[in-house]
């Protein structure tokens, strides 16, 4: 049995591990992986949707399904026979595993007005789904598009729990299920220097494609040109959840068209601000191991000595 750890050795151990933690703290201060308010890189692509221009023609939905090779989505919730042309038509009620992009209608209860909204992935600057994804199946690709890699995904569905916009969808009816979400047409079009299918096809320019800095400036110009036309005179997505790459202008409250009220801090920052310090270079677990090790060693030796005495007393092998 090795000699007992005395108080001095214990102290040295704690100080050493403490240094490791301090080192971790210092390093994390230099390069913060998840700033509370991330800044969009200059090449970040963006979409700007303005619901005062949208006519609800749904051309973007057809274009999206075509570009992404999605099957017809007849899941309207109505019985098959009563759906338009017996399920031939695409009438999804919401985003799902066959619909990556949707135009929805919001109507006031007393029929005084209505508004459209286009929903798809928001392509957050610091996406919660990417932070949570255990093997990086979801990642922030070039130009900030959030893409999904089937060979890295274990199907844990943490992205669905984490996403504040409820965007990622899971193929519940498949044996080899995929996570389905708008990927900004990354593989299909962006890589070929083409804009996404939905923005390209939009006949009214309700949704347009461009650099995030350009589109943000353009949205602000629209607000300045028509004060009080837009809700709260602000762009949804500029700060929400740390900022998103899809931006919205709306003439009705954002919450009414299904855009949740969110803080300006990125969820990745909120969730990792403590753990990123504790786990930096594993300093926290190492410190815990050193302290626990010293105490266990002391108590182990004490316990062993007492065990020997008891063995003599009872004539029975001590049990661990």
């Amino acid at each position: 049995m090795s000699p007992r750890i005395n108080r001095r050795q214990l102290l040295v151990g704690i100080v050493g591990a403490g240094g490791a933690v301090a080192g971790g703290l210092a390093t994390s201060a230099v390069a913060e992986e998840h700033p509370a308010h991330p800044v969009a890189p200059p090449d970040a692509v963006s979409m700007l949707y303005d619901n005062t221009i949208c006519t609800g023609c749904r051309a973007c939905m057809t274009a999206c399904s075509e570009a992404n090779g999605l099957p017809p989505d007849t899941s309207s919730g109505l019985p098959f026979e009563t759906t338009l042309a017996s399920g031939l038509w695409d009438i999804p009620a919401d985003l799902n595993s066959k619909t990556k992009n949707i135009i929805k209608l919001y109507r006031e209860t007393n029929d005084t007005g209505f508004a459209f909204v286009k929903r798809q992935c928001m392509h957050c600057l610091d996406p919660a789904c990417v932070t949570g994804c255990p093997f990086g199946a979801l990642k922030k690709s070039q130009w900030g598009a959030v893409t999904w890699n089937s060979s890295l995904c274990i199907g844990c569905r943490y992205c669905e729990v984490a996403c504040p916009f409820d965007v990622p969808k899971f193929e519940w009816d498949k044996w080899n299920p995929k996570i389905v979400k708008c990927e900004f047409c990354f593989d299909q079009r962006l890589k070929q220097s083409k804009e996404p299918a939905c923005t390209e096809v939009c006949p009214t320019g309700a949704v347009i494609f461009g650099k995030r800095t350009d589109l943000l400036a353009r949205a602000k110009q629209r607000i300045a040109d028509a004060p009080d036309k837009y809700f709260e005179n602000r762009v949804y997505g500029e700060y929400e959840a740390g900022g998103t790459q899809v931006l919205y202008l709306s003439n009705v409250p954002f919450e009414k068209i299904g855009l949740p009220k969110l803080g300006s801090t990125s969820l990745g920052h909120y969730a990792t601000k403590v753990t990123s310090v504790i786990y930096k270079w594993l300093s926290g677990p190492i410190l815990a191991a050193v302290v626990l090790g010293a105490l266990i060693k002391r108590n182990w030796n004490r316990h062993e000595a007492e065990s020997l005495e008891r063995e003599k007393e009872t004539g029975l092998e001590e049990q661990l």
Partner: protein
């Protein structure tokens, strides 16, 4: 009730023993207690109707799990895209592993904080903890949609190290398969030692010293790993942001999950010792059980202190006392922890088996409720949706739990898990010897399965 009467008799016997022999002093330093070593449950058949009942439930669950592996998730579950996690994750893993944290809570109390008495109940904690973790991991395996991609866990450069999910994916299987299994090794080898041939005995004599030498080092991992993943389980819900009700969504969630795990761990070991002793008519050691109750009470107070400091610090105290649905849920959860915390401060309460059992049950329920609520009840996705587990989901969850119960009730009869008196141990051996002599001609295997009450 008959069993309660029996328990009361046992209690008076235990009290008698306790007062007449004075087996421990004020500091609890003397170690001669009524419970002196693990003794297998002998004199009872292994196969009982109760065991068959749980085995049947386990079989139903496992068969369904197998079918699930060859079927999409959809037809099996009540989950949907808004409530993407069902009870397999939120209950079997995120909630029930708190009950399986006995090895962490009792082990740290014994080995780190030198609560010598608690070494006696470690085996009960270790076996039950292992079963909770193992069944939880099975549940997790059948819950994920693309389990075949899990091999990435072996390639650290593929890890997203900032993901709490990754931490759990790595830590929990390693903890269960390496550390918990290692800690459970002595009680398995011990049986081989006492029942095996001379060659086995000689072999185990050679094996024992190196195992003993690495044991304290394995203990370090056995505490660091659960400290990490039990807090990460709470960390999972952080990313869900304001989908989780403000009473439960807090940066302290990882720490609170860890405290709840320790609380449930202590409470469940007390609960299990009491119920198992009751079931198998074993005498109780109220010194040791009282110590568990004592620590449980303090752990409840620590949990509540952190909970309320956090609420005050975040300015959510008014939400807690708004007396709406969520506030009432919070108050219910808090009461379940506060009552045992206060009651167990009384020595009389914690050394009365019935009240200790009641209080430990309440504390466990409170801790479990705290861990379950933010995942499901206080979880509000952006879209209107609802979740209630489907029948196969429920059957599989019940199956996993039944598997644990069945395995535990078999284990206590084969291995020296439940604590008992030295006299018990010696008596068992006399019985075994007598049985062996009688049985050698019939080629029957003696200890301890085939023993019946003399």
């Amino acid at each position: 009730m008959n069993r309660w009467k029996k328990l009361t008799e046992l209690l008076s016997a235990a009290n008698h023993h306790h007062t007449t022999t004075g087996t421990f002093d004020e500091d609890g330093a003397t170690l001669v207690n009524h419970w002196q070593r693990g003794v297998p449950v002998y004199g009872e058949p292994v196969m009982t109707p109760t065991l068959l009942f749980f085995a049947a439930l386990a079989a139903i669950g496992l068969i369904l799990a197998l079918v699930r592996f060859f079927s999409p998730l959809g037809p099996f579950v009540g989950m949907n895209d808004a409530y993407a996690w069902g009870i397999w994750k939120t209950f079997n893993v995120m909630t029930l592993t708190a009950l399986g944290s006995g090895p962490l809570a009792v082990g740290m109390a014994a080995w780190v904080f030198n609560r010598e008495k608690l070494h006696m109940v470690m085996r009960t904690a270790l076996v039950s903890g292992f079963l909770f973790y193992a069944t939880g991991l099975v549940a997790l395996g059948f819950d994920v949609g693309r389990a075949w991609n899990f091999y990435w866990i072996a390639l650290p450069w593929r890890w997203n190290t900032e993901s709490a999910m990754l931490e759990i994916c790595f830590c929990m299987p390693v903890y269960c398969a390496v550390f918990l299994l290692f800690e459970n090794l002595p009680l398995v080898l011990e049986r081989f030692y006492y029942t095996g041939s001379d060659a086995t005995k000689a072999f185990l004599r050679v094996c024992a010293p190196p195992l003993r030498r690495i044991y304290p080092f394995m203990l370090i991992g056995a505490y660091v790993f659960p400290l990490m993943h039990q807090s990460s389980l709470g960390g999972l819900m952080l990313l869900a942001g304001n989908k989780v009700h403000p009473l439960w969504q807090t940066p302290c969630l990882p720490f609170l999950y860890l405290l709840a795990a320790c609380l449930c761990g202590l409470g469940f070991v007390a609960f299990l010792l009491l119920t198992a002793s009751l079931r198998y008519s074993r005498p109780l050691d109220l010194g040791i059980l009282g110590e568990l109750g004592n620590l449980l009470s303090w752990m409840c107070f620590v949990f509540l202190a952190v909970r309320f400091v956090d609420l005050i610090w975040r300015g959510q105290l008014h939400t807690a006392f708004a007396f709406d649905k969520m506030s009432l849920l919070f108050l219910c959860e808090t009461a379940l922890i506060l009552v045992p915390a206060v009651a167990l401060r009384s020595r009389v309460v914690r050394e009365t088996p019935r009240s200790l059992l009641n209080m430990a049950t309440l504390a466990c329920l409170g801790g479990l409720l705290f861990r379950f609520i933010p995942t499901t009840i206080a979880f509000f996705p952006a879209h209107h949706a609802s979740y209630f587990p489907s029948m196969p989901e429920l059957l599989m969850t019940i199956g996993y739990i039944s598997l644990g119960i069945a395995a535990f009730s078999i284990a206590v009869k084969y291995f020296a898990i439940l604590p008992g008196d030295i006299k018990d141990w010696n008596y068992m051996f006399r019985l075994v010897r007598a049985r062996r002599q009688a049985a050698t001609s019939e080629g029957e295997k003696p200890w301890p399965a085939s023993l019946s009450t003399p």
